[in-house]
Each structure stands twice: as structure tokens, then as C-alpha cells.
Amino acid sequence: MSARSTTEDHGPRRIEAGAPPERYARGWHCLGLASGFKDGKPHGIEAFGTELVAFQAAGTGELHVLNAYCPHMGGNLAHGTVKGDALACPFHDWRWAGNGKCAGIPYAHRVPPRARTRAWTTLEENGQLFVWYDPQGTPPPEGVTIPRIEGAFSDEWSDWTWNSIRIDGSHCREIVDNVVDMAHFFYVHNSFPTYFKNVFEGHVASQYMESDPREDMTAADTLSAQGRLRSEASYHGPSYMIDHLWTEVGGATAETVLINCHYPVSPDAFVLQYGALVKKLPGMTDEAAAQAAAQAAEGLATGFEEDVEIWLSKTRIDNPLLCDQDGPVYQLRRWYEQFYVDVEDVRPEMTDRFEFEIDTERAVRVWRDEVDANLARRAQSAQR
């Protein structure tokens, strides 16, 4: 795992691309803003190698997620109709309740006693809809949940912005790897990290980062466009990251919460979703707050587009060659593996607390020189 040079020549490093896992991560997965599913229509979702359907029961108002294909003759319930608290299949009008039970077959004398489809365990939190995935069929253990974000329920904060993009040809490990990847923030996202630490423990993986905007890049290009940024970002389980950000803007501190989450579509495709909440500064109108959130979302969109561009042309790599100033990629992947093995095979080293604080001294010095050189070059060409 160490990448220090030796005097012996071992020949060129061979990349082990490996194959993406066949199974999907155990845990809560955010499907999107809950409000998006509350329009009285069923919504088809391609996820976990299958098709799901989300709908709101008209009577109870609850959101439910079922397997999309009707166990009767395979009709797609996402093309069906919400009738009362049940979802009706477009093929033969079989009715399916949110708990998976067949709630009626209008043309039949009786419902077959074991008529049941799969109902997925759902959770509505922070204005978002989640499903629990576990290939072993075990319900979520106590304590494995999605933390409440106070700003999502407060008038002092904006509403969520929300975006969704499908990434084909990559496993979602690519986005999770970013948790430890300090240097890519400089080279890919035009931000300038000065402090970087990771902590993994239990089902949570955190990244503590301080960064400045890169002065040699135009403001629109940077994640931390406005000023010095402090970020505390944590994955709660395999796919849902809450990122609390504090930015210095003209003497005040702007508070932002970003969500970076995904769900797998197939072993090499996933849907990446992200959104932002902005705390209103004193005297800020709802409109201005919405605008600030939209701006944060735009910066976020740019950031993810930059990541996607890298993913589209990179290879999967199981044996990254690291230097001392890289973050703990292997330990992050050891943590991430807990979601891809059966519960009884989760080993203590996957969940034991692990902390890694990068020595950023050299990186900061080299990057400062690079930024200064770019600024000098720009000043020079402006004079011509």
C-alpha cells in the first residue's frame, strides 16, 4: 500500500482494474426529493439491477416503493394508476397496497391468498425519500439511519435545490473515492485545500477540509468561489453524504448544506443526485436565499461535471499507486466494503475508527507557486 520509491526496479506498475461487484451496497439510498413523488402519479425507478415504482397513497399520503413489475403477468406498475391507497396495474387492474399485499382484483371473486409483491422499506427524512437495500432481506438496524438536517425544516433556510444525473460506465465507488482525494480538488475542481483529514468509524466516513478559492481561476470555475471554505462532509452509509459548509463572504459567514448522494442502477451505472440548502443571511429575502441556493447548486453542478469528465475516460483501478500526500484510499475502500459483504462478514477493521490527517505543507507550497506563476503569466499577457 505504501508507494515510496525503492532503489530496486520492479518493472512498470500493472493496473488491476478488477470487476465491479455484482451485488449492491447495503444501506439507505436516497431516491430524490419526496415532493417529486407526490404528484398522484407512479414513478418508475431503475435501481439495484431492477425496476421499482414509487407512489403516494391518495388516502394516507404516505410514500411507498414496490417492485415495478406486477407478479400477475409482469405489467409495469410505473405505467399504472394510483387508486385510493393502492397502485393499479395498467395490464389487468390488479391493485397493490403500499405494504406489498394485493388489495384487490376487480374482475375476480377473490384475491389469491398469497398474492404479494415486494414492498421496499422506505423513509422520508429531510424532505427526501429513501429506500433500504439489503440483499439478505434484513431490516435496517437501530442507529443506521439518515440524520435529520435542521435547515431542511427551518424558515431560516432556503428550500432544496435538486439535480440528478445518470452515469453510465462507472461503478459508484468512483464518487465515494472522492472522500479521501485531496489533490483532485486542486486539479479538477479549482479549489485550494489547505487542511485535510478523514475519519472513518462504523457506517460513517467523514472528510474535514479547509480550502481557499484558486485565485488563478475565474470565480465561476471554483467550488469555493467566494472565499475561505470550511467543509465537514460525511457519508452516512454507502451513498448519502451530508456536507456542511461555512464560507467567508465579506465579513459574514455563509452556511450551506450540500447533499451528494447516489443509487446504483447496475454494477456499472449509477444515478448521482445533489442538492443545496442555504441559510438566509440577516435581512435576506426568500427570493435572495433561493438565488443563493441556486448559485450553490450551480457550483455543485460544475463540480460534478468535472468529476464525470474524469470518470468517462478513466479506468477502474483496484490497486492505486499512492504517495504520502494522498489520502487513505485503501482504508476508505476497506470501510466501504462493509456494505458489500453479508452482515456476519463485516470485520472489525472495516468499522473500527480510523483517522488520517494529511501533511499539506508541501502541497500548499507547490500549489501556491503554481497559482502565483499563473497569475504572473496572466498579468504579463495583459500588459502586452
Partner: protein
């Protein structure tokens, strides 16, 4: 460089620590944090550091019981 045991002066728990340089620190816990007075509780990855443990690591460095790597800046500059 390799991981060395360091005992926390606050609670007596032993962790494995590596310092590749003064600013760098790796800490590997080998048992749950539920008896750590600063970290015990749910979702303790949301706490960046146990200050008691950090003081103990700093003391181990001062007293020379924890070696600090010097290979962060090789003599030839690269």
C-alpha cells in the same frame, strides 16, 4: 515507518499511530470508541478528534517514544 502503539493518558485506551511527518497523523483504533470520554455515542466519525488522545500522541512525540518520519522531504528535493 510503521504503526506504533500509543496509550491515551485520559482513558488508558491504546491505539496504533503513525507520524510520517509532524503535520501527518494516522490513528488506527483496534476497539470500539464507546469507552472514550470524548467520542462515545452515536456517529462519532462526526467528531474529528479526541483531544485527550491527541495530547497523548503529541507527548509521545516530545518524549521520543513515537518516532516521526523524515521522509516527507527527501534531501534531493524530489
Amino acid at each position: 515507518m510503521s504503526m506504533r502503539p500509543v496509550e491515551c493518558g485520559a482513558c488508558g485506551n491504546e491505539v496504533l499511530v503513525e507520524k510520517r511527518s509532524l503535520p501527518h497523523t494516522t490513528v488506527q483504533w483496534t476497539r470500539p470508541t464507546d469507552r472514550c470520554p470524548e467520542l462515545a455515542g452515536r456517529d462519532s466519525a462526526l467528531t474529528a478528534v479526541c483531544t485527550g488522545l491527541r495530547s497523548s500522541i503529541e507527548r509521545a512525540v516530545r518524549e521520543g517514544t513515537l518516532e516521526v518520519g523524515t521522509d516527507a522531504e527527501p534531501a534531493d528535493g524530489e
